[in-house]
């Protein structure tokens, strides 16, 4: 072991000085001098290392399966469907499905000969168990259960056929089944489906292309190839998820060649990572959008002209440029560009940054400048509090919005809160006036849970916006069965929401992924979706 040198070498000192200036987001010469992208025939072998922020919970339905759990759960547990490379639902444990003419029952044909990693056969009983005994059992509070509110029960027709009976039409069912809805083994979990720690924090029995070899709390979870996997044999030997909580340390590890692929959360570091040899930087679409919610119980915000004025007043392109370094695009509806089949690009210039227009709209709503330049109506100043959760880019974004609103005479006071306390105040108690946040949802345009009036006040309809016409469109979207009909409905929905602004749409972010140049075969999807194709990944020999 080499002892610590007592004095830094000059080159190291220069690096330290450079880092001091660049606020320690990562720089330096990468040690791994990987060969530039060697396309060609896939070769077998090798280990891929991916960082995660905390210890995962290896059960997709556990309420403690947070974002760091998604990667592994999507690799080891398979759903009936998975997101196709076009994000439309593709077969996984189910090979095909049919919808009854009344739309109220779906029949899934299951893959034959699938085995759990402990050798027991997979069957329709496991599917029925996963839904009837976990998801639909309300007292368990299973993660993601709210997505299946329309499902009444799941019935085993025969060992390779199951039927989902619904209480209402639910065209998005196959898409939702592709989203964090892995099937878990009845024979292991029937005693305690959500709290079996030898499963959740150990070596769960699963069906995917890789299986857990070892779970070391606080350090890593290593996966090895599952030789009883039904699909094509994966190229990689191992996939190791290392627990690295600090995002700057993750970047340093990527630079030192310790990681194979990672999501770059701190976009400010993108240029430094780009300049490192041996690493490739790519941007990926996400099914995610940022919004500003204005509480509809506040009468100032029920006037649509006020909401439209705010969108004109906020320089969204400047926000994208400054906090996302350009990796994103202006949003005007809840349907993201990642959903290519549905996204309507014609709305992109609907609300240009236009403060005079904003002032005009506010004036038509009765808000006129007072002595100090602040807008007033009936003798009251236009002033309110925006709650800011401490997470991701929310703090700088709120500061920019505050400035933009001030420019049109609206005073927004920022109240910054620790994340957990923020959720309790703004989401659980709905005790807020205005707040910025984001939604990520399954790869389907069915946004019913976030917009329907039945979800106002307690569900995911954060602003509490209620509109019978919008409700009608949301139900139509769920009832439409063929793709063309759905496209038409969701085109209308995009136009309608961009006009009425239930939420003020801000931007659609993109994900930046950093890959070792030797890593090949990763589909052009966000990393959390791309891991579902990990069987196709391979490492070029250096």
């Amino acid at each position: 072991m080499q002892l610590l040198p007592m004095s830094f070498r000059p080159s190291a000192l220069i690096l330290v000085a450079a880092l001091a200036v660049s606020a320690c987001t990562g720089a330096g010469q990468p040690a791994a001098s990987g060969a530039p992208s060697a396309q060609g025939q896939p070769v077998a072998g090798g280990t891929v290392t991916i960082p995660i922020g905390a210890d995962p919970t290896l059960n997709p339905w556990s309420p403690n399966a947070f974002v760091e759990s998604l990667f592994i759960n999507r690799v080891i547990f398979e759903g009936l469907t998975k997101p196709g490379k076009d994000l439309a639902p593709a077969p996984d444990l189910a090979t095909s499905w049919t919808i009854a003419p009344d739309g109220l029952s779906w029949t899934f044909k299951l893959r034959d000969g699938v085995k759990w990693t402990d050798g027991k056969p997979f069957s329709a009983d496991d599917v029925a168990f996963t839904f009837n005994d976990i998801v639909l059992k309300k007292e368990l509070g299973a993660q993601n259960a709210a997505s299946y509110a329309a499902v009444k029960s799941v019935t085993v027709v025969d060992p390779t056929t199951v039927r989902f009976d619904l209480s209402r039409k639910f065209a998005a069912l196959a898409s939702f089944l592709a989203y964090n809805s892995g099937i878990v083994p009845k024979h292991v979990l029937s005693a305690d489906p959500l709290k079996t720690t030898s499963f959740n924090k150990g070596t769960p029995v699963s069906t995917g292309p890789f299986k857990v070899e070892k779970y070391t709390s606080g350090q890593s979870v290593s996966l090895v190839r599952n030789d009883s996997y039904f699909g094509p044999k994966p190229y990689l030997d191992k996939v190791v998820f290392t627990v690295v909580p600090d995002p700057n340390t993750q970047i340093a590890q990527a630079l030192s060649g310790d990681l194979t692929i990672m999501i770059l959360d701190n976009k400010a570091a993108v240029d430094r990572v780009k300049n490192a040899s041996g690493l490739t930087v790519v941007s990926r679409p996400l099914v995610q959008y940022y919004w500003l919610a204005l509480n509809q119980t506040d009468s100032r915000f029920t006037d649509v002209r006020v909401r439209q004025a705010f969108v004109h007043a906020i320089d969204r392109k400047a926000i994208i440029k400054s906090v996302e370094l350009g990796y994103g695009q202006v949003a005007n509806s809840p349907i993201t560009p990642a959903l290519k089949a549905y996204f309507d690009p014609s709305l992109s210039e609907k609300y240009p940054y236009d403060p005079p227009k904003a002032k005009e709209l506010l004036a038509s709503a009765g808000w006129t400048p007072g002595a100090n330049g602040v807008l007033q109506k009936d003798g009251k100043s236009f002033q309110f509090t925006m709650d800011v959760g401490q997470r991701g880019v929310l703090e700088p974004v709120n500061a920019l919005i505050q400035q933009d609103l001030k420019n049109v005479g609206v005073i927004a006071d920022l109240n910054t809160m620790e994340w957990n306390a923020y959720i309790q105040k703004d989401v659980v108690r709905r005790d807020y006036t205005a707040t910025v946040n984001w939604w990520t949802y399954p790869s389907d345009p069915d946004v019913f849970p976030y917009y329907h009036s039945s979800a106002a006040g307690k569900g995911f309809n954060i602003p509490g916006y209620q509109d019978p016409k919008l409700d009608d469109l949301l139900v139509q979207g769920q009832s439409a069965s063929d793709l063309e009909q759905r496209k038409a409905v969701y085109k209308q929905l995009q136009a309608y929401t961009s006009e009425t602004l239930p939420y003020l749409f801000l931007w659609y972010p993109q994900e930046i992924d950093v890959l070792s140049s030797s890593l090949q075969g990763v589909p052009e999807l966000g990393l959390r979706d791309a891991v579902q194709y990990i069987g196709e990944w391979w490492l070029a020999k250096k």
Partner: protein, 300 residues
């Protein structure tokens, strides 16, 4: 003392805004939230829950973690050795380096060496651990490639040498949180002792400067330093929170951070009890060390 700390923590953490992370997430419906709170028993009054917790705790059962359902004692047991190894090495490093540096400064009082070292300790006190940690990683792991960047072992290897190599950077980073304080204590108390009559006596007896310093001066100068070290143990344990996060070190500091952010009430309380016990043990150890180095103090 420990029971008092547990009660204080239990009430404070339960009264803090927010709730367990499984409940306080954006994508949980009101219905799920209610079911989860009921299942965790959090709909019952806090005093009732504390009495129940205390009754189990005196039998050695610290309850189950709300975030993982594993026993709290097991989760702490997994992490405690890592934190003790990290904090212990940092303490050894600080004492091992701090005493000679402080003595050198005292002997060269007012000279250039003293000024430079004083400046360095001021810088050491001012530099935040997370920044120093990242810089250490970038220099020694990314640029020079001589030490691993994070974690407690490599992905493939698990030898003693590998573990020691992983320990170096976090221990150095953590040591900087207390090293400057130790240096200052050693310096000032050595200077004080050097002015004492018995040192002048020893010197005029014709003893060599080395003997005067090691046998006479240092022995007396270290007495206040030992008590300072006892007081620095809580600061050291606090420093592990940041150090462990930066270096991906699987210790109690990181566990405490996760537990607090996730409002894992039983785990936060359990950790406080353990840390309080360590602090009490450290001050006891200091008292015992006193009797060794200062013959004027006797245990009665």
């Amino acid at each position: 003392m420990v029971v008092f700390a547990s009660a204080l923590t239990f009430f404070f953490v339960n009264l803090a805004p927010g709730g367990p992370a499984s409940v306080m997430r954006f994508d949980v419906s009101a219905e799920q939230r209610e079911a989860l709170i009921h299942r965790m028993g959090l709909d019952r009054p806090v005093p009732e829950r504390y009495v129940e917790w205390l009754a189990a705790a005196v039998r050695g059962d610290l309850g189950s973690s709300l975030l993982t359902d594993e026993p709290v004692a097991q989760r702490i047991g997994e992490r405690l050795p890592n934190t003790l190894a990290l904090a212990g090495s940092a303490l050894l490093l600080s004492v091992g380096a701090g005493i000679p540096i402080g003595v050198v400064q005292a002997l060269r009082r007012g000279r250039a060496v003293d000024h430079v070292l004083s400046l360095l300790s001021a810088v050491g006190l001012a530099v935040p651990v997370f920044w120093l940690g990242i810089v250490l990683i970038l220099v020694f792991a990314v640029s020079l490639h001589v030490l691993p960047s994070a974690g407690v072992t490599g992905v493939a290897s698990d030898s003693l040498g590998d573990r020691l190599a992983h320990l170096v950077l976090p221990a150095v980073a953590l040591a900087t949180t207390i090293l400057p304080t130790i240096v200052r204590f050693v310096r000032s108390s050595t200077i004080e002792v050097l002015d004492e009559d018995y040192i002048r006596t020893a010197t005029s007896k014709g003893l060599s400067p080395r003997t005067v310093i090691t046998r006479h001066a240092l022995r007396n100068a270290l007495i206040p330093v030992v008590s300072a070290i006892g007081a620095l143990v809580p600061r050291l344990l606090g420093g592990t929170v940041v150090t462990e996060a930066v270096f991906g070190w699987p210790g109690m500091g990181r566990l405490a951070l996760e537990a607090a952010q996730g409002r894992d009430y039983p785990l936060v309380t359990g950790l406080t009890v353990v840390v309080a016990a360590i602090a009490v043990a450290a001050s006891l150890a200091v008292d015992l060390a006193y009797t060794r180095i200062d013959p004027r103090i006797r245990l009665t």
